[in-house]
């Protein structure tokens, strides 16, 4: 589903190189975890996949279901099935959450040549998804993410993810800022979306998220490259020994 080949990327403004040759293949139905120390390029990788133009690709390619994803606009990637759950979901005053959800869902449907959802159909979907994630109707009446707590913002991200039904979910430090209860709710929401035709890339600094969302493959990203891959036990080893070994390896 996702093939990243020798990807090099730098910050457009000051040309600082962040990704230095990432290779990663994720197949449908798989959940991959990417772990790594601060500054290793985890968030950059997620932004590059979503199409943020603060970054410049200097080498390599990214194929999404065989198509060159780097040539697509962010909204085209989303309509093709790419979803990024943001580490810091943005507050947008003046944009009502429900209006935003409807606009996003219908924009993607339109891009795929599908009909717009009827209002009752839309409401039914939102209510069902919101109930699973403990998202209250009161939250949905507010402007997007405005006044949401950290946990509410992350639940709102997963709500968007379940409504948009993406093929590829990239979760950027979804566990940051969550307490144990919120972490469980969010993880359950994510696990519910695991499916044979859907792939996930879970980016995290800590192993604890992976107790809840159990990955098929774990990768270590350090200094802009994947330096080691293994099964879920690799995460436990990292939790015990820290990243020191890998930082040195890459250097």
């Amino acid at each position: 589903m996702l093939e990243i080949k020798n990807l090099h990327a730098r910050i457009a403004e000051d040309e600082t190189e962040i990704l230095r040759g990432v290779d990663l293949t994720v197949n449908a139905g798989e959940v991959h975890a990417i772990m790594g120390p601060n500054g290793s390029g985890k968030s950059t990788l997620s932004y590059v996949l979503a199409g943020k133009d603060d970054y410049e690709i200097t080498e390599g390619e990214v194929l999404f279901n065989g198509e060159n994803m780097l040539e697509m606009d962010p909204d085209e990637r989303a309509a093709a099935g790419m979803f990024l759950a943001f580490q810091y979901p943005i507050e947008i005053p003046g944009v009502a959450t429900m209006e935003f959800l409807k606009t996003a869902m219908n924009a993607q449907r339109k891009a795929r040549g599908e009909d717009a959802l009827s209002i009752p159909d839309f409401m039914r979907r939102v209510k069902a998804a919101a109930a699973h994630l403990n998202v209250s109707m009161d939250m949905l009446k507010r402007p997007l993410n405005v006044g949401f707590s950290g946990g509410e913002k992350k639940r709102a991200e997963i709500l968007q993810m379940s409504l948009l039904e993406p093929k590829l979910c990239v979760l950027d430090e979804t566990d940051s800022g969550l307490d144990i209860d919120a972490l469980r709710v969010v993880s359950e929401g994510v696990n519910k979306l695991r499916a044979p035709d859907r792939a996930m890339v879970v980016i995290t600094h800590y192993q604890r998220l992976l107790d809840h969302i159990v990955p098929d493959v774990v990768h270590v990203l350090s200094k802009g490259k994947i330096v080691k891959s293994g099964n879920k036990d690799l995460a436990l080893e990292l939790e015990k020994n820290g990243y020191a070994d890998y930082v040195d390896t890459a250097a």
Partner: protein, 439 residues
């Protein structure tokens, strides 16, 4: 500038003097009214049209913009007026009373005067009252007098308008829309007086429809809000022709009264909405909002002076401007607080969103405070669309143009929502979308 030196008149100014000479015999009014008109013409003769060296018109050089002046519009074609009235759809299905002024003159046949009379609202043709003993009172606006050039231009050429009086205590059940219609080309110059009696409530809508073929539109509204009364005035300034659109309101507010206004401008070529608000009684409140959109080579000016002459009054001024292309936006706002106007609370904010590199915003908020126990604040910001917000929306599949529309709507809606009057402003979102799609 030496005021005693005779000035060299522009083409437009010469046209205006011609226009006056041709039209003066047909103007309504007593001897005193005629004297006011003559004085106004003399003012233009002596000082010219307002231009950039007049501080209040520094950014809005009407003299340079007006290359020529059209004749005044002729009498309206009532059939055409009726059709335009049916077509214009500024407020959708909103239940409302209508008063029609076509080519500058009140049209009783198209106005809901009976329904309004039943609600305690009396309408008179301005031209009737100008003939009367007190006619000249209707052409002298308090405070501002003749010094303002746009007001002088109005006084000289006023063709008609209405005097609308809401009886004491009347709560007018539906909004009243004062529709100005142009059925043919030519300048349109109107003066309207709105008096809301003690304890009465009125929601006024002001709309302008039809093409004047480049002739200027100059409308003055003289509002009187009596003690404990409520007036909410929503003004739509739209239209794509070359006409200069010049609007003035002068508001006099009594005690324990509330006045609100929203000046909504979407895409006129050259427009100025100037408001003079005067508190004359204590414990009153004025809330003035402006929503402006300008693109291309448009110029859009919102100018405001709020005079706190008495203690214990609050005013809130909140203006939002979106600019694209090479458009120029202007906000000039001044809050004056007189020495004895203690406990005044004034809060003024102007915010601009620039969609292009070449657009230009002039923000000039001013406070002039002579009292020592007041709370007054002002702020001004100009910025661009936040790229992070745009990326977030696009990452959810919303194409760039629609994402920008959502963010512009979000930016403007802050002022529209604070104004309130939801049933009236509901349709404005569509106007913003139209402007974004077609400017």
């Amino acid at each position: 500038m030496n005021a005693s030196m005779p000035i060299r008149h522009t083409q437009a100014e010469s046209d205006l003097f011609d226009r006056y000479d041709k039209a003066k015999s047909s103007f309504a009014g007593s001897v005193a009214v005629t004297a006011l008109r003559e004085a106004a013409v003399d003012q233009i003769r002596d000082h010219g049209l307002p231009h950039r060296r007049v501080e209040e018109y520094k950014y809005t050089d009407l003299r340079a913009f007006l290359k020529a002046a059209s004749p005044l519009s002729a009498a309206a074609d009532l059939v055409a007026a009726k059709n335009l009235l049916a077509e214009q759809n500024s407020y959708g299905d909103l239940e409302r009373h209508r008063i029609v002024v076509a080519n500058g003159v009140y049209v009783a046949e198209l106005s809901d005067s009976d329904a309004l009379a039943a609600e305690g609202v009396k309408i008179q043709d301005l031209n009737d009252v100008l003939e009367g003993e007190n006619g000249s009172q209707y052409l002298t606006a308090p405070k501002s007098g003749l010094s303002d050039g746009v007001l002088a231009l109005n006084t000289a050429f006023v063709q008609g308008g209405v005097v609308l009086e809401v009886a004491d205590g009347a709560d007018v059940s539906k909004p009243v829309e004062l529709v100005h219609i142009a059925t043919s080309s030519g300048a349109q110059v109107t003066r309207n007086q709105v008096r809301v009696g003690a304890g009465a409530r009125l929601r006024l809508l002001e709309t302008f429809t039809g093409e004047t073929g480049g002739g200027e539109i100059n409308s003055v509204f003289d509002y009187h809000v009596a003690d404990k009364a409520y007036l909410a005035a929503t003004r739509l300034i739209v239209g794509k022709d070359e006409a200069a659109r010049l609007f003035t309101s002068v508001t006099t507010i009594g005690a324990e009264a509330e006045f609100k206004s929203l000046g909504f401008m979407a895409g006129p070529r050259f427009a100025r909405n100037q408001q003079f608000v005067n508190f004359t009684g204590e414990n009153s409140e004025a809330k003035i909002y402006g929503v402006t959109m300008a693109g291309g080579d448009d110029l859009a000016d919102q100018t405001l002076i709020v005079d706190h002459a008495v203690p214990h009054c609050n005013s809130r001024e909140f203006f939002k401007t979106v600019l694209d292309g090479r458009a120029k936006g202007i906000y000039q706002g001044r809050i004056n607080v007189a020495q004895h106007a203690q406990k005044t609370d004034g809060e003024m904010m102007t915010q601009a969103l620039l969609l292009s590199e070449d657009a230009e915003m002039a923000n000039k908020p001013e406070l002039e405070i002579f009292a020592d126990d007041v709370i007054c604040a002002h702020g001004a910001t100009s910025g661009q669309i936040d790229e992070d917000l745009l990326f977030y929306l696009r990452a959810r599949g919303i194409p760039e143009a629609e994402a920008k529309t959502l963010l512009v709507l979000a930016f403007l809606s802050e002022a529209i929502e604070e104004y309130g009057e939801d049933d009236v402003t509901e349709g404005l979102e569509e106007r913003v979308r139209d402007w974004l799609a077609g400017h």
